[in-house]
Symmetry: C3
Subunit: 337 residues, 3 copies
């Protein structure tokens, strides 16, 4: 993947032998093989290190892979000509190498200025008191930023946006006419719990959040940035208060997400879908275009275009309603037939 | 409705022909008819424009209506003597006209001062570092505002209140002895997704939030302001962390809302009701006095005074418990009778 | 309990007769008996006042009790030699006495400085613009605090922590390598609604939040401080965005809490437990080590070590899955056997 250097400072390339020492891994292949970036295994380009966990029997591998971290069990999956490390915890080792390659700019030495001298702020933008704007950030014409919001280094905000009070934005690209209500949290690290040698660790995230034109995000809602790649919210998608959009989610255009909507990692939601209040969707689920989910639905499976589902675990709405009615009747001695 | 000019600056009246040009609507009646305000159709006074959608067959209409925006199908519902516009998207057109009549003061050119010179702050109030206070706001005796909170223009806060850190308040009237814990979001725009000519749009909101004496709002909870009219929280009502109270909700006195409570638009909750954790209530539902909802209930219907309901969809608690027990027994071959 | 005077200023001792006058209670025993602190009835030491509600038939009492507030019905439960007050609302009266003994330092007269001169900030810590740090707070080596966060008086933060933007911390002790994402609310007053003479009142809280090493707390999540005693999050426990951890909860080590997790007051969760998204747990429930709760589970009962439960009300996962499958089959005339 191309790591966006507006958000992540490059710390320079590593050799595979340096990475082996850093992670305590066994080295196989060329010790001088160069690690210049990071990626998922199915998308890695030359020099971009990826990882394989378990036996990785079903893992798709990019033809351009040159360096890998694998488990002992996945050693047989390494293609010829690829140099690699063997680790007990490949995902954790990959995270260690990632941290040696890149550092999020917002965790680097902070400049003392409240508004960085290198930020680009349009003369027709309105910036409230207490707003903090990082190096290289940009804010377009007619955009209003209410007080005490924080705009991280490199964040790009388009024209005629409305940013509420005490909002935070990191590692984000924001289109035009976007509305973020107060307390929205855009671009935090996603929830990626990974086993490490001492116990649970947080996986680092090197992606971005992309909010297309006319997106609205409600008060105190959260949209996490991607691990590799981006979390994307399509044009005119409207998200209510207190929603959670996890890393690498892709919401299509004109999607409606009511309050307490919880969309887990890597979910895809088709254009024009409508999610009622308190809907939860398990990770990696895909919804077609125009799907409706009833309030309180807990969805664990893919749903085809135009379908309406409800209940927990969610099922087609007619089936859910039939179950609700049948249970009510059967359990009631006066009503039972 | 009387739009509160402490929160919304009046931009002056419009004629119906100006509004027709602005919204691309067909004009019927007097082109010079004056639009001086906005309202819902059942409450509009002279000069206050309202809208009718669909065929509006069941819409209640104020006897004092003088100007309307209607759909083609609702044309027949317009009373004699009322001048009107015909639009494909009456709600959206009404929003356009509203924006031409009023502008929220917190989105107008921001004054550079952190604490406005025109704010009225009692000498016995304690204002933390980083607090931002807008023009015309007032803070009463003995009230404490913790650091980095934002109090919008015109917001009135009474005596002996406790406002947490990083709270935001807009378009709000707050009584005495009110407690807002850190990160509470009071008075944001509600979630009103409206079709417009280019796709989904946010409906503008011109109401307020009213928090009566001794109300408590938990950390990171959200209370949206009304579209027309107000969102009201009655005396001594206690709201836990991470709750969502939508536009135009009316909570009575001494209501208890536990964490993750989600109250949709225009819901009414009677005095002394108790909502368990993670309760959701669909829009326009009415609860009588002293209603109890069990934790996790998802309510889609009105509930009479003193009743206790549970489950999703919620039903009287005995029925829910009978269903739970019956299902358990029947599905278990060892227990079935 | 030992009230931590870094967070709560002691206002001096009271005599029982002063407390009787303050609370309008009847006095029994020694009017000069000294009240020097507060505690729960089962843990009170000499001079620490506790309370008993109802008939308190099952209340455990510390052998070291010297002063109590009780209801009329609980009068018979008072041990010989203990001086006491009789009140219609013992919990409320106890809160009144507590407020006369201690005041949270963050509600006292605020010093004008953004960063208190008495705060201890390591030279290798990075403090962003707009951060507010109270008197006596300490921040360790290598810790980064992003902009506009608020660190209350006396809060202790260890080394190599990462504190996001607009976070607030009060009455908290934070270990090393702790990560708090933006908008997290640590140490607010818990939700303790108590009847008082005029109606519902908030119970004051005099405990702390303790976050052990390597804890992670997601964006806009809330962890309330204890009433008496502490809310504790064990080493390497990982909490996602928008979670609610109530007063006096004890989470063990390496617990995983996915988004919208809601843990009610005084719940105990064993080491290595995994709570799926949107899990709710009722107050005072205890989970053994290594418990798993499926996403959306609503738990009202204790669960033994190593068990997996799901559904609402939650039950062992196999039973829940059997019910789901059976209901689906029975309600569908085509599938029924």
């Amino acid at each position: 993947m191309t790591v966006d250097t507006r958000f992540y400072a490059s710390l320079g390339a590593l050799t595979l032998e340096t990475a082996a020492a850093l992670t305590g891994s066994e080295l196989a292949g060329d010790p001088k093989a160069e690690i210049t970036g990071i990626a998922a295994a199915d998308r890695a380009q030359k020099g971009e290190i990826a990882f394989l966990e378990g036996d990785a029997a079903h893992a798709a591998l990019s033809a351009r892979l040159t360096v890998l971290v694998v488990s002992e069990a996945a050693r047989a999956r390494v293609p010829d000509g690829v140099s690699f490390l063997v680790s007990r915890q490949p995902r954790y080792a990959h995270g260690q190498i990632s941290r040696a390659l890149y550092q999020p700019r917002h965790l680097q030495t902070q400049e003392p200025a409240q508004i960085s001298a290198s930020a680009h702020i349009h003369s027709e933008a309105i910036i409230g008191p207490g707003v903090v704007i990082g190096a290289g950030a940009a804010i377009g014409e007619g955009t209003v930023v209410r007080p005490n919001s924080v705009i991280g280094p490199g964040v790009q905000i388009g024209r005629h946006c409305s940013i509420g009070a005490s909002v935070s934005l990191y590692c984000a690209l924001v289109g035009d006419h976007v509305t973020l209500l107060s307390g929205a949290r855009i671009g935090e690290t996603g929830f990626g719990v990974t086993p490490g040698p001492q116990g649970l660790e947080d996986a680092p995230h090197y992606g971005r959040v992309i909010l297309q034109d006319h997106v609205t995000v409600g008060a105190n809602s959260c949209i996490d940035r991607g691990v590799f790649g981006d979390t994307i919210v399509g044009e005119r998608t409207k998200i209510d208060n207190l929603c959670q959009i996890a890393h690498n989610v892709v919401l299509g255009r004109s999607v409606i997400v009511a309050a307490f909507g919880g969309i887990s990692g890597s979910v895809k939601v088709g254009d024009g879908s409508m999610l009622g209040g308190r809907v939860g969707i398990a990770d990696h689920v895909t919804l077609g275009e125009g799907v409706s989910l009833a309030a309180s639905a807990g969805l664990f499976r893919d749903v085809g275009p135009g379908e309406t589902w409800g209940g927990t675990p969610a099922k087609p709405i007619r089936q859910w309603m039939r179950e609700v009615a049948w249970l009510n009747k059967q359990s009631n001695p006066k009503k039972r037939d």
